[in-house]
Amino acid sequence: MTTSAIAVAGLRKAYGDKTVLDGVDLEVAQGSIFALLGPNGAGKTTTVNVLTTLIKADGGTALVAGHDVATQAKSVRAAIGVTGQFAAVDDLLTGEENLQLMADLHHLRAAEAKRVVASLLERFDLTESARKMASTYSGGMRRKLDLAMTLVTKPRIIFLDEPTTGLDPRSRRTMWDIVRELVADGVTVFLTTQYLEEADQLADRIAVLDHGRLVAEGTPDELKRQVPGSHVRLRFADAAALDAAARVLNGSTADDAALTLRVPSDGGVKSVRALLGRLDEYSIDVAEFSVHTPDLDDVFLALTGHASTEAIAS
């Protein structure tokens, strides 16, 4: 019937009189990366905690891997892997022992466990530090170990709660590459982030969460197109063509020095086709054509009425 890895409808959660989730609906396709984007306090971690069976929602339904998180928690847990916001590694165990601990708790047979542990250490570039205690690891290494521990049982759905918060740019890129590899293997990734760039870089679909409500949902490009201010930029070979185009395209602004024309447009296929058709009609040649959409920071501002940084600070 459905091939959704995660299907959520009308999810609600309140702590006392503080509403944290206010009717969240979302759907994540198998094998895709889904990013839940929002500032601190938006309800991202609460959503992850409900979907991973850590807390119970007050209302609504959530199916993960086809199982209801409220009534089939065990089946859900068997299908998922979770890497929380704070690296949950055992500091007093070595990297290798941490992975072995996961293998033991998953009741892997000794030979299988040994193979899995060795291959994960290798894959995450931790072989050299395998015998060192996790307390000596850097932030980036801890996150890698944390994720490796999550992967011991090869979960089909992986939740990553702010996987790169607090990491330096290089470790962040490494983490991004790892996430992309996971999806290449067919895994579904549900990640939360407060970094717009991260969602843009990784996600197939993004949902924007603000004060417990989804204020937008779509592909990164769809989201960017919802924001006023996107435009089409046309460059021409000479001033005559530029002038001709400026006359036929209403509301456009010309830059004579650069020989470019800026035309307001939502960037969608229909409006671009109409625009190009009009230029064709007047036989105006275009040297270069590009659609400019605002970045996700603009999106956030337009959708929520406040800047993401503002919300983070509050």
Partner: protein, 261 residues
Amino acid sequence: MSTITAAPSTSTTAPLADSRTMVRRNFRHILRNPVTIFNGALMPVVIMLLFVYVLGGAFNVGEHYIQYATPGMVLLAITYGLSGTAVSVNSDMTKGIINRFKVMNVSRGAVLTGHVVATMLSTSIAVAVIIGMAFALGFRSPATPLEWLAAIGIILATAFAAAWLTVALGMAAKTPESAGMATVPLILLPFLSSAIVPAAKMGQGFRQFAQYQPFTPIIESVRGLLAGTPSGGYAAAALAWCAGIALVGYLWSRATFSQRA
């Protein structure tokens, strides 16, 4: 519905196997934390030497002091190691690893059982060291093997009760630091019992307290068994205290465990 299926090995829980894994993990923690080893095994030895050679000569207990003090020292060996357990339980709860266990199909009881059993293991080692030291310092016991077994039974029951109470204290504390502090009363209690000197020799108030607190019947029953003069009354009181404390600790731990995180 979905085509996603779970790996069969993880969809069932195995409390015994999980507990064994957790015991191994927690015992490793104890071995790798020098403070725990010092508190658990060395501190009682130091205190024993201090009391037997420095202070004990001044106490008039009616027999050689080592004969009197050994059961008390065994109790100290149990209580001194507890702060390490409380800190370790609390770190599990506050540093996120508990959530990792909770989103896996790990038997819920295994996390707590792991701490209790690992604590009892390390306590047993400390107790064995102290009893060995006592013999080296001249302690002699006319107890029969059966009396020895009974004494060891009471010691283990005490360790069991103290471990559950400590797990509960560690779980209820807000931070690892306050968890360590929470066990201090437990560490002080033996000093206010007949462990070091007979309760009858204490001042007003302390004497009554010492007579009615749990460690006195525990120590007196062990002392009686090792001296070859067992007292059924003390033993019954000791076991009743242990059962009560263990039950409170167990219920409190379980309640806090399901409540937090």
